[in-house]
Symmetry: C2
Subunit: 347 residues, 2 copies
């Protein structure tokens, strides 16, 4: 009876990041327990002498996951992992998670037990306490909301905004595999829908499928940083894609950057699959998303510390803002980097 | 291609509380930053010397709200308030909230701005910082997830489990109005759907409508407790209904209780509307839900402190567990109390 709007501007005109920016641009913070509000992987709070980070995520069936090919146990595991990844991206150690699940009546108790088996498995593996949550009903499909809380020493908090000219750009592992895993699953889904009797042969695609269905968060990197007394100057996790996420760091830090195409780590299986799918492997690495690797920058004085750090790849350098964000191709050309990350709204 | 279950047990067989209990019964906590996990209005954490409470909620269109009669601004306001109510129910002071919203493409930017106007209005009014959140897309409808964080002195934390025999049962305001507000809105919706030209006359129903559409959390009560140095022995907020929520306290505290029917506060407008709807006013007060009043118990030695406390009603007493949970009717009869709270699954 209400809700008649004078004007209707499609949310697609702004995209996901544009929309939240528009909605929250006037939001300030004023409690002394709030150190950093909206705008990073996680909010930073200060209670007493302790610093906490808090991150929250909403996973929606049909947008973020497809139960035709996501086993529920994997889905529960992934729902936790993607949130913990945000906590690690602040150089923090996760402590607690809360989980809320809305489900339609098509889900059985056994299905929910599968989902929770994955949730609990991730909590055990990453050593976090499941401290809250509820289940409620939904008219259609499943929605999972996870909030993760971590702790961090004040002098180790790593924001997106600390990168400066001359810093080295690093990534914690290979990129593009999760995206290729998704391509395979989508292809198999189409085959299955047209012929449910078919049994998919996914044998030699195990690596990329696992990267998509059951990703891991880089807990180990935080331990390496701690051990080597290295504090990155900026960090975030790669959820939207290397290109898009590097742009976030550059924007927050008010700098430019270049990436060396030849240095970007791509798994061999992923490389071959990309070609099979007639995709440029480097494009899948730059724009694929959902890799949940850590993208971070370090001061050049710390170069020696990372040279022998396990699974750490140097892929570029931070430059002046005026120099823009560039890709140095293997062929010797320089291109402006384009972000084609997963902005669900504009699909 | 997976997810074929051997067994399919309908979630309705357990209900909302039964399901989450079954899914999380084996979940323990082991971090020393975790004081209390699943099972109260909020989790209790301890970071350094500070105690925090954390609560999270998922509101789903078509289940928890209906946009035919919920103005988006009110909805945003209510989404925050119902979470803060859980924080107050721990006798804590909310500090931060995070908000995630999933929307289908039918929602315009202007609609989202309305929703966020309500969210920000509630944050201002309750003095909390909006520190995180995101928007994402949904195949259908809207889902809102809110997490609230508050702080509390260790010796003031009020769990559901502290009620003991002889304690006095209190409530912070009148009950049943929100439910009656919902009945009116549902009736008007039916009228509107059958004749969209009709203009509803809601003049003299303002109070119950506001209780439903734009409820307030009892921030003031926490201030009264502080001022009078009163710490309730147990507390929770009334979201499911007085009967159901009292049962939660009794179960957690391992006690029984009785309520005096004549003492349960019911607003006069609500009383008249109940009769108009051919509902028993006391039934709406016991089972209506969504009142977001605080239900709490106090030691009898504190009786003098609440006698003159604003909007505090003494409605019963805690008894032995063996005595069960009873209603003393105005007619002098004693009935076992039945909970008919809103368990969405079993609708």
């Amino acid at each position: 009876m209400d809700n008649k709007e004078q004007k209707h501007t499609d949310v697609n005109t702004l995209g996901e990041f544009g929309l939240i920016e528009r909605l929250t641009s006037d939001v300030g913070t004023h409690h002394d327990t709030t150190v950093k509000g909206i705008g990073d992987d996680a909010a930073v709070l200060k209670y007493g002498s302790e610093h906490l980070v808090v991150s929250t995520d909403l996973l929606v069936e049909g947008i973020h996951f497809d139960l035709i090919y996501s086993p529920l146990k994997h889905l529960g595991y992934k729902a936790i992992v993607v949130n913990l990844s945000d906590i690690y991206a602040m150089n923090a150690t996760p402590q607690q998670v809360t989980v809320s699940v809305a489900i339609s009546s098509k889900y059985s108790i056994e299905a929910m037990e599968e989902l929770y088996a994955g949730i609990k498995e991730a909590c055990r593996r990453y050593d976090v306490d499941l401290v809250g949550g509820d289940t409620t009903s939904s008219p259609k499909g499943m929605t999972i909301s996870v909030t993760a809380i971590g702790k961090v020493d004040k002098d180790k908090i790593t924001y997106r905004s600390g990168a400066k000219k001359g810093d080295i750009v690093c990534v914690s592992g290979d990129l593009g595999s999760a995206y290729l895993g998704l391509q395979i699953l989508e292809r198999e889904k189409q085959l299955y829908l047209s012929n449910p009797g078919i049994q998919p042969d996914l044998e030699d695609q195990q690596y990329v499928l696992e990267r998509q269905l059951k990703p891991e968060a880089r807990k180990d990197m935080i331990a390496y940083f701690e051990k080597d007394k290295l504090v990155p100057t900026a960090m975030m996790d790669i959820s939207d894609g290397l290109a898009s996420d590097l742009m976030h760091i550059c924007k927050a830090s008010d700098v430019g950057a270049y990436l060396e195409e030849a240095k970007i780590p791509i798994n061999q299986q992923a490389q071959m699959l990309a070609i099979k799918f007639q995709l440029d492997p480097i494009t899948t690495a730059l724009n694929g998303g959902e890799d949940y690797e850590l993208l971070f920058t370090i001061d050049e004085k710390d170069l020696e510390k990372i040279r022998y750090m396990p699974s750490t790849y140097i892929i570029g350098e931070i430059t002046d803002k005026e120099d823009g964000i560039k890709l140095h191709t293997s062929g010797g050309n320089i291109h402006p980097l384009k972000a084609q990350g997963w902005t669900h709204f504009s699909e």
